[in-house]
């Protein structure tokens, strides 16, 4: 029998970006909040100071900052005629291993999605006709929110996180120093853009000469000291390059720890329960609400945390898995197209070009996790698709991220020996001469993709693992080929002596092939309960006091990193709860 804890107003399941942003809003509004996180308490100065952080073996290779597959993996197959197998080693699911979630080890690319990304279906029909949007394979649906709806919340998230960048569109006024394709912003970024490093200089010149529009990627590795609206101060980034898969030792990579915890954790109406795994949301007898959650502590004891409001703010796959294991909502059935839980998984469709110069000094070790130059000329619907066999596109970027020497040993020109004296000679030369163009492509949902419960494999609690069935949409494959060809052209224009295009979408998808770690959907938002798990306020259609927050709500993925949109949606939902829902606990209009 479960031990029972005192009832909370709100229980937060997973204290990453979504959970901590929501907890901050809700505790500030006076609500009594309990957050439950699977991982331990970790913090910048006590766990990843500069004496611990710059260690590629430990963090970059052994991935000690990530939740191990041992505890939490996903099984996978490409189509429903196959038996799924568990991903046994680290792959595309890069969940955090402590409080802060993936927000502690993320790289720091801090994007807004473009206005088009929220309305792919309606805008595609409007511009190209119904056939282009309904190709028989894709399952496009609008989000039920627009970019304009989200703009104030993007702005608020950027203020909390101190994002560094240069606006390209303030209230419709275009500035070529920023991204001329972005949606209109109410104001500029809170801190200036980061420095332009060597590979970016080469990219900026080449793309400008080609008539394209390069700009510096907005970053959560911040450019100067900054105090956010909560009163928390961050330091300037030092360009050490130990960001993605690392904790920042310098209070200069935005994270729940660096931006929110110093205020949140001190509030008397906030508690954290660490090392405790929520396995289930408990349904009420009325069938319309939930009563709280069940969790297992680190000793395996079962607890019940009753609450008036439950917010699932775990990583995308865990949100979906908890819903399925709780029997909330109807599981998506790809054959009939009915059911909503597990619908519209999508990923990130990646291609690009690796390049090697003969006599450069790229100095790759100077960088930040999110830093680079990008062009959006081939992203979203920024170019005419009427004669193309796909929709969408990719943010095409060159990375000035890190010079990690173990990982980079794989980045040698085609034909270079992988071992022996030839390897040493090639690596001694090309380490400082290597660059890449990474096409971060959108990912369109397909009807055949599902997330459901695996019939065979279980976790250490005996709870079924999540099973993913997925392969790329043909439209995305065509997009990846098109943008790869553009990347090769840019790399040649940059003066590279050796150029190799790459395309992860020219073969079957696999969770073991780490093209990206951006996994999306499965509990998607929308204004139709027949095709979405949550309404535009991320409130469950099946239980009005349950909110399912995070990238699990994205009906499709854009050619950008997801974190900014996750943050904006979380703040918007939290405000809807304390401004409206608590006064009238019912489905929000």
């Amino acid at each position: 029998m479960a031990n029972k804890r005192p009832k909370a107003d709100v229980v937060i399941v997973g204290l990453g970006w979504s959970g901590s942003l929501m907890a901050e809003e809700l505790t500030r509004a006076g609500l009594n909040v309990v957050a439950i996180d699977r991982g331990p308490w970790i913090d910048t100065s006590t766990h990843t100071p500069p004496a611990v952080d710059p260690d590629e073996l430990r963090w970059g290779q052994r991935k000690e900052m990530l939740a191990p597959p041992r505890d939490n993996t996903v099984t996978f197959r490409n189509h429903d005629g196959q038996d799924a197998a568990p991903l046994r080693d680290y792959g595309i699911f890069e969940l955090g291993a402590g409080v802060g979630g993936a927000g502690y080890h993320w790289a720091g690319m801090a994007w807004r999605f473009s206005p088009w990304d929220f309305q792919v279906r309606s805008r595609t029909i409007e511009r190209y006709g119904r056939a282009k949007a309904q190709d028989g394979e894709m399952q496009l649906q609008d989000w039920g929110v627009t970019y304009d709806d989200l703009e104030p919340f993007y702005d608020q998230w950027e203020r909390i996180a101190g994002i560094s960048g240069k606006a390209g569109n303030i209230k419709g006024k275009i500035d070529a120093a920023g991204n001329v394709f972005e949606g209109p912003r109410s104001r500029d970024y809170p801190t200036p853009k980061l420095k332009t490093l060597r590979i970016m200089e080469l990219f900026n010149k080449a793309t400008t000469d080609m008539g394209l529009h390069p700009f510096t990627i907005p970053c959560a590795n911040i450019s100067e000291p900054y105090t956010n609206p909560l009163g928390v101060t961050m330091g300037a980034c030092t360009y050490c390059g130990f960001c993605l898969a690392y904790g920042c030792g310098n209070f200069s990579k935005s994270s729940p720890q660096a931006c929110i915890f110093p205020v949140l954790v001190r509030r008397p109406n906030f508690q954290i329960i660490t090392k405790s795994c929520v396995t289930k949301v408990n349904k009420a007898a009325d069938g319309k609400t939930v009563t709280g959650v069940t969790f297992a502590d680190e000793h395996g004891r079962t607890w019940e945390q009753p609450a008036d409001i439950v917010c699932l703010t775990a990583f995308q796959v865990d949100n979906v898995r908890i819903l399925l294991n709780s029997g909330i909502g109807k599981t998506y059935d790809p054959r009939s197209g009915t059911g909503t839980i597990g619908r519209n998984f999508s990923f990130q469709t990646v291609s690009g070009a690796d390049m090697w110069f003969e006599d450069e000094q790229i100095n790759p070790f100077i960088g930040t996790g999110g830093l680079g130059s990008q062009i959006d000329d081939y992203n979203g619907d920024n170019f005419d698709h009427s004669k193309l066999d796909f929709i969408g596109g990719a943010g095409m970027l060159t990375l000035a991220r890190d010079g990690a020497p173990i990982a980079k040993a794989n980045a040698l020109p085609q034909g270079s020996p992988r071992w022996g004296a030839g390897f040493k000679k090639a690596y001694a030369k090309y380490y400082r001469n290597y660059g890449t163009i990474f096409n971060q492509g959108c990912s369109m949902p397909v009807k055949a993709a599902t997330l459901d419960l695996d019939p065979t494999y279980r976790d250490k609690f005996g709870v079924p693992l999540l099973r993913l069935t997925y392969d790329y949409a043909q439209s995305d494959r065509n997009m990846a080929k098109f943008t790869m060809d553009r990347a090769v052209e840019i790399a040649r224009e940059m003066g590279a002596a050796h150029v190799s295009g790459f395309n992860f979408a020219d073969k079957a998808f696999s969770t073991a092939v780490i093209a990206s770690d951006h996994v999306i959907g499965g509990a998607v938002m929308g204004d139709d309960p027949a095709t979405s798990a949550v309404n535009p306020w991320l409130q469950s259609w099946d239980a009005h006091n349950l909110f399912v927050v995070g990238a699990s709500a994205f009906p499709n993925n854009a050619g950008y990193n997801p974190t900014g949109t996750v943050g904006a949606l979380a703040i918007r939902t939290a405000q809807a709860i304390h401004q409206n829902y608590v006064r009238n606990p019912a489905p929000l209009a």
């Binding site: 710059p54 290779q61 041992r70 197998a85 991903l87 420095k195 100095n363 071992w419």
Partner: protein, 241 residues
């Protein structure tokens, strides 16, 4: 839940005293202890010269011979074993990596699993894979050349390694030969380019070879000098590497 219940609960929330501490990992307020968490400190390789996993001399000779063909000594730097990569490997195999501590190892391992994942997966731990792999490699050398792998000449060793890499050689039915080659290559490179505190990369030779300045934490003074050879000497996380 009735609406009135909910409102009542929300109404008393602000006044309610924090719940009693019921379980070990309940936190309220910011932790007072701001000292470095010792459990989070790195675990350097043992320096007592004793091997913990590679305890058989024949295994050490085999892996040393392999590593020195993967990264041989030349004008650019020491060989893998000169840089400490065997010590490095022993330390890794003795720890969490060797135990496969992070892997999902529940069965069954399905027949088509590797093809589906486009990557070989293992229920066996890296330590077990080295144990069977090194013995199979030695047995293969004995079978084909009537000599220990470590006693073959460089050309013969390279031919076997190239065959393993390409998949044209199978050491033994129970060994995924190509994957074992990749495991050894990955670990040799790790030893050569990881921080010296883990036993390899002696004198930071791997970093000097490519021009990586190591565990530096602040490049703001250099970031504007784009395209320059900065000539930065590497530093390690341990003061004397």
């Amino acid at each position: 839940m009735k609406r009135r219940d909910m409102l009542t609960s929300l109404g008393v929330a602000i006044a309610a005293a924090p719940a009693a501490r019921l379980i070990a990992n309940e936190m309220q307020g910011f932790p007072h202890d701001m000292a470095l968490d010792q459990a989070f400190m790195p675990k350097p390789a043992s320096s007592d010269g004793k091997y913990q996993v590679l305890t058989r001399e024949i295994d050490r000779r085999t892996i040393a011979a392999v590593f020195d063909r993967l990264i041989p000594e030349d004008a650019l730097g020491p060989s893998a074993t000169q840089a400490g990569c065997v010590t490095f490997l022993d330390g890794q195999l003795a720890g969490a990596f060797g135990m496969g501590a992070t892997l999902y190892r529940a069965g069954p391992k399905a027949v088509g699993e590797d093809a589906l994942m486009q990557k070989p997966q293992f229920i066996a731990t890296p330590r077990e894979r080295y144990e069977t792999g090194l013995r199979a490699l030695e047995a293969y050398a004995q079978r084909t050349h009537k000599a220990s792998f470590s006693d073959l000449d460089a050309q013969q060793q390279d031919a076997i390694l190239a065959g393993m890499e390409k998949g044209s050689i199978e050491l033994a039915p129970e060994v995924n030969t190509q994957a074992f080659f990749e495991l050894m290559l990955a670990n040799a490179r790790e030893g050569y380019f990881a921080d010296p505190m883990y036993g390899g990369n002696k004198d930071m030779a791997g970093w000097k070879m490519i021009g990586f300045p190591g565990a530096r934490y602040d490049y703001r003074l250099y970031a504007d000098r784009t395209g320059e050879d900065l000539g930065l000497e590497p530093v390690s996380l341990i003061p004397k590497a």
